[in-house]
Symmetry: C2
Subunit: 398 residues, 2 copies
């Protein structure tokens, strides 16, 4: 049969990251391409005990249909936690449990953007979100990143020249892939610009709790007195991504439309994972758990940076320093062709990294970057992987 | 802030069913409005044992990211089960694990329908699916149901007069809400029509395993030699809806686009629920479990029908006989106003039923039907609920 596809999906292709993950599934390949939490970061014993308690003491809660808004105790707990700890949430806000933060991006675009409307995103930015917007026929306007966050002059010029921009998509902390954290000053100015041009901000904060250096910067959502910001939180990086539990905090009028759209996408987020998240926050020492994660990732990041210094920097690779998150954003010297480096890395050296252009709005633009992940590989794999990349660079040196 | 919503969601409102479910949450209200499995139908001990085994023996499988396509052993098991038991799946087909069957409907519409394209659905039909199509700006063409399924003459006339129909949505077994099962003859003719007019069929089969009377009718998908049919299966009614695990079997070319769209909606379905479904099929006696469900629902259906005979039929209510599923579709006599009956039922008598117009494409059309569910209420609640409806009808009789 000759399928007549919708316009919105004609140009959609599987994300380059997930395609590379398929190579990475080869046990011989050292994967520095994923964004998976370290397996040792999962509180497996606690989760096993919690799941067992739920399924023996009140199985029907976990097995029966729930409401689209989410498991009520988890909604209440997150609302007060986010208010107390991050000053997020005002009287006009409401909270929705989502099937991972990815769903918040898709729902935001679905309720705000007509086919042909535009979204401003940081360039580079998280490919999953960009594809989510693309899947709804949204056009993307990439605004370059600076060392303290999005370029505000370029942002304002985009807002001035396009009347169909519906929201600005930002990852303010340890941005994926650049690792950059937006300064407080820029967060205030970003908020003011959004207000002036009547556009929503979608603030995606999966890595905010994974700071191992420097001082926390308040969320853009903590400034929101006007109902401008949709905040996307997630348990994927701080508890377990396989649970697929995230949450959106947004003005109730806006969230109501997202709830209706979620209802017709997956009815509600799976109950057992929601109750596990709630019980984990309630009965385990959540702050201690976060400290433990920070200590795991801090060690891994330091090892990765020292290996980069040792094996890649001598061949002209540069990188941005990081204070948290899961990634290091590296740049090849001009003499080396980035796409062939990434391809040869996985084929010849069996090391998977993500080519930087995957994160651009226009993937055909020249790009010298590649992204390294330090959360997933073991220390041994990091050693092997970076050494092999160094070896490859040696053969590509002039 | 003045939110500029997308056209597709401007007219979307929460489903009438879920609004009534809110009343039904009042513990005083007898709910005959849900579509929840009977709590005693959950194999809670088996699920608790399986979850405990997974989380102690291989927790990382359940907690780490998975692939968008789904948990590989479950995909393989379902593919061979559906082929052997139902002759579903050809060489050109592939399988995707979804976050409930609802996601299959949304993904089908997303990949096939532009804003303004049309979908043919049975009238009445499942409100969740209709709203899913509406949420993507799809226009709905309702084709009336007959006692053996959709009216084929009306269907062909719709296919002839609209060139923008992308698929036909059907629930062939124990349709929600009408309870009707499409005859084999109609299934063959439906397939032939879809082929002639080059439209896809989306076959939604959540209740197929819940037949307690009569003989199984093969799925439309079992006829599919041309790659016309997207089959939507689900564990919601046969295992547990809170797990949110369903699956789509569809031609690989078509499914590939659905996979890309799912990737940007929720990355993948939660792992622990997927592995629970797989282990349940693998280690428990699945056919025996299905027999047990059929016996539970058969008893509940018989009780419901006898109560209807006793308390509602004397006041002029008629209903269609059923051979499976979870619902009875009742009709009020012409002298009684259906919307006020449903409203007075929940407010005065504290019994929630679903007004029939909720299942129509045009909810403003006159409708004398209401839907009763017999899977969720206890026997005691069914007695109370139907008696109270009888009492209400008495006050509304001329």
């Amino acid at each position: 049969m000759n399928y007549r596809f919708a316009e919105r999906v004609k140009s959609l292709n599987p994300s380059a990251i997930r395609e590379i993950l398929k190579y990475a599934a080869d046990p011989e390949v050292v994967s520095l391409s994923a964004g998976n939490p370290a397996p040792e970061a999962f509180p497996t014993n606690d989760i096993a005990a919690i799941a067992s308690r739920i399924l023996t003491e009140r199985p029907v809660d976990a097995l029966q249909y729930g409401t689209t808004e989410g498991y009520e105790p988890l909604r209440a707990r997150l609302a007060s936690y986010m208010k107390e700890k991050h000053n997020i949430g005002r009287g006009f806000d409401n909270i929705l449990i989502t099937s991972g933060a990815q769903q918040t991006m898709e729902l935001a675009a679905k309720v705000l953007c007509n086919h042909g409307d535009a979204v401003v995103c940081e360039a580079p930015s998280f490919i999953g979100s960009l594809n989510s917007f693309r899947s709804l026929g949204v056009s993307l306007i990439g605004v370059p990143m600076q060392s303290d966050g999005i370029d505000l002059a370029e942002l304002e010029s985009a807002l001035k020249s396009h009347s169909n921009i519906k929201f600005i998509y930002t990852i303010p902390n340890f941005q994926n892939p650049s690792g950059i954290t937006m300064s407080m000053d820029k967060r205030r100015k970003l908020y003011a610009l959004a207000k002036r041009y009547n556009v929503v901000i979608v603030e995606d904060n999966p890595y905010g709790d994974l700071r191992f250096d420097g001082t926390d910067v308040p969320a853009v959502k903590s400034l929101d007195e006007d109902g401008l910001v949709i905040y996307a939180g997630s348990f994927s990086k701080v508890l377990a991504p396989g649970l697929r539990v995230g949450f959106a905090i947004a003005p109730a009028d806006l969230l109501q439309k997202m709830i209706v759209c979620k209802q017709v996408e997956d009815v509600h987020t799976a109950m057992l994972p929601q109750i596990i998240c709630d019980e984990f926050m309630k009965t385990c020492d959540y702050e201690n758990h976060l400290n433990n994660l920070r200590s795991i990732y801090s060690k891994k990041a330091r090892l990765m940076l020292s290996l980069i210094e040792q094996h890649l920097v001598p061949h002209g690779v540069t990188y941005d320093n990081i204070q948290g998150g899961l990634f290091v954003w590296c740049r090849l010297p001009k003499t080396i062709d980035m796409p062939s480096f990434c391809k040869r890395a996985v084929i010849e050296q069996k090391v998977a990294v993500v080519p930087g252009n995957a994160f651009l709005v226009d993937q055909d633009l020249p790009c010298q970057n590649f992204r390294l992940n330090f959360s997933t590989p073991s220390d041994d794999a990091m050693h092997k992987g970076i050494e092999r990349l160094g070896k490859l660079l040696k053969t590509m040196d002039y």
